[in-house]
Point group: C2
Chain length 322, copies 2
Amino acid sequence: MSLSEFDLIERYFRHCGVKREDVCLGVGDDAAVLECPPGQRLVAAMDTLVDGVHFPHGAPPTSIGHRALAVNLSDLAAMGARAAWALLALTLPEAQESWLAQFAAGFAGLARRHNVALVGGDTTRGPLCVTVQILGHVQGSAMLRSGGRPGDALFVSGTPGDAAAGLALEQGRWPASPGSRYLRERFLFPTPRMELGERLREYASACIDVSDGLLGDAGKLAAASGCGAQICYADLPLSQPLLWAAGAERAHELALTGGDDYELCFSVGPGQIDRLLAQMPPQRWGYTRIGTLREAPGVDVVREGAVVAFAHSGYDHFSGPA
Amino acid sequence: MSLSEFDLIERYFRHCGVKREDVCLGVGDDAAVLECPPGQRLVAAMDTLVDGVHFPHGAPPTSIGHRALAVNLSDLAAMGARAAWALLALTLPEAQESWLAQFAAGFAGLARRHNVALVGGDTTRGPLCVTVQILGHVQGSAMLRSGGRPGDALFVSGTPGDAAAGLALEQGRWPASPGSRYLRERFLFPTPRMELGERLREYASACIDVSDGLLGDAGKLAAASGCGAQICYADLPLSQPLLWAAGAERAHELALTGGDDYELCFSVGPGQIDRLLAQMPPQRWGYTRIGTLREAPGVDVVREGAVVAFAHSGYDHFSGPA
């Protein structure tokens, strides 16, 4: 391992992502210097992926690079913000060139797609762990978790549960089935819903990104909004590959409690629903109504008139399945 | 371990640091929303501390919390920026309340001293590792590493080498001596030179923070400035406790190659030196002239007319001592 920290940064990270006019000083000094667009607010988030916790040990480095950025972009999407700059803290047991090249390619590919410049960070030696800090902008107000009201319709983008099934396949816990590859890709290369988030700012009363399981994350949105929610079991959008791989019962359960989807869950007030459906057709934008916010706290899933119970609602890092 | 991720954040980090008017939305949503002061540039840095690498395993949690913020503040100091907001990514093997309370106290104490609000981050389970991202502002241009010119005087703040000695004492590698406690404090609770950095912007041609050893970091400043440097062995500022603990020879070596000082090394053009010395008296501001930038690349340490050789010049995470 002859690659120095300096060479490593120079070779793989100095020109990772796009070049942006608003970066006065990028990678290579003690800090980055950035030009904030006047009249806009700065939006900042930071998420960590730990080896063996957020991805299986030995996961493809391209996927780790992609996901480290994607999970952060998804936080900006949930606020309705546009991404601009990222910083990367990479802790590695050793500086393996092929691993680094693939990791950087995964990160850079997604960065280019969303016009993100990598402007700084840190590389250190230790157990594999990746923290990305993302900075973006929002004009006017951001979407919060807390703006929902009883009576608002509740929506989710994409087909939740796919990523959890993809992880089970990736780990060899499930046998292959038609659509296995699609499911694995949903885990390895999630799509942050940037354009959807930015557009939703005009319509949504509240929004959260679905990272720890739809049931739990919808519950967080409802709680932050001072209300509860009812989710209709039959309305959950399930992908065909998930139904093939898991069967209908298990597919519904994964859609509600599986993690790593990085979709958006959002509420829309009664006065905005028609406008949303007309101006952003659900088929084109890929979202589905799944329920309604209500006065009573908590989240119920209703199936043929009865409330369904789940063993857990999502993932919590310090108390496990919640 | 019954503390959930949500409780942990709520209890220890929601109100960590100061309250600032420019924080529209802090800890608790998908991202923070921040108001950038008009006419100023944003300055961003990110540094990681890994258990057993950047601090000894079992180090006091108050120190870990302090240092995680201090090393980042020091990067802003080197740019001449004023700190405003921080994000914290904390990876922990388990959520131990007493550890968390002390860590948060160490972080918050320093944050309050420098008017920093903790606005977001992430807590995850895994091997102990702390990444802090710091955001600050600079009016006009930041100090870069690259602005030095041959003939500029080279300075350093504080008394480098103290932290490396403190670490040796902390790890029990050295016997106690008068001033041991002072040296250990220099390692455990380094002082980021924020006020000095901000004021130096008017005088310095280049600046870097000394984190990996003065010799190596002065070399980085010189190389970024397209020149070399000569350091005068006899002019190195050494603390009395370091001399007591290490003796004169070893003290000089530690001042040049020990890490973790978080002092500032800066160059000042001939036309600015008198003004600097008059308006910012070295005794009051705690800095010392140690050498001169020169045309010839590389850094030489000169002792009684001869160039001294050192086994290594500082610390590199991927190739070890450089």
